[in-house]
Symmetry: C2
Amino acid sequence: MNDDRQYLELAIEQARIGRREGGIPIGAVLVADGAVLGVGRNRRVQLGSAIRHGETDCLENVGRLPAATYRRSTLYTTLSPCQLCAGAVLLFGIPRVVIGENRTFEASEEHLRSQGVEVVVLDVDACVRMMSEFIAAEPALWHEDIGVEDD
Amino acid sequence: MNDDRQYLELAIEQARIGRREGGIPIGAVLVADGAVLGVGRNRRVQLGSAIRHGETDCLENVGRLPAATYRRSTLYTTLSPCQLCAGAVLLFGIPRVVIGENRTFEASEEHLRSQGVEVVVLDVDACVRMMSEFIAAEPALWHEDIGVEDD
């Protein structure tokens, strides 16, 4: 298993913890210079939060960083980033994003690439399965998280 | 003073509270159906936060909302949104953003407009002055907030 796949495993572990907490199963990990700087998971349910997505929770858990560190980092996420999380990548100049899957949701990859970010999609079955099962079980919660109106 | 200018005043008040707290003076307000849903301010310093910008702090303070409410709302902010905060606007389908000023920082207005968001810049002198004084006093803190490397 290569390094990207191993770091993604940590993000998957975060997503699974989130699901067991009753939350939305999306996890993320920030890595720089071969070290894990922090991990996070979507905590809309757990914290009653509108902005704690997997990636933003990870960046918040990592805490304040100098710009130079972000610019050497890779963000791993189980699910293709929404516009908010893509905006965080662009704001901080994170040059590389590794994504578990983009089959159940994709909203920002073209924009990230157009801004020079390297976007790698590993297309991991376990990630697709995890999100598919969640979306089938909790469609209203999922729609709330991505700002989609229910009928 | 019209409604937009009055709601912006609440955002300016938030920015000033933030500055008195030792923080970065950017404030925001979310309004829907003529009611203020919540206010916020940049709290990088106050909370040691990487993601609590004026707009995201406001959305977090407002809390979880159904998609339909965001789609009737206007976000007021003292400073033109960074990519993270623009991403939040796009994620939740907020259709209108009213901005105090974009002379000291501008990173997302074209992208917001290209996605159908109405962007109104009021160009308020008090906002320009507040940010200009802050940037002159705390350049390293400002650069950290927007992911810019110091020399």
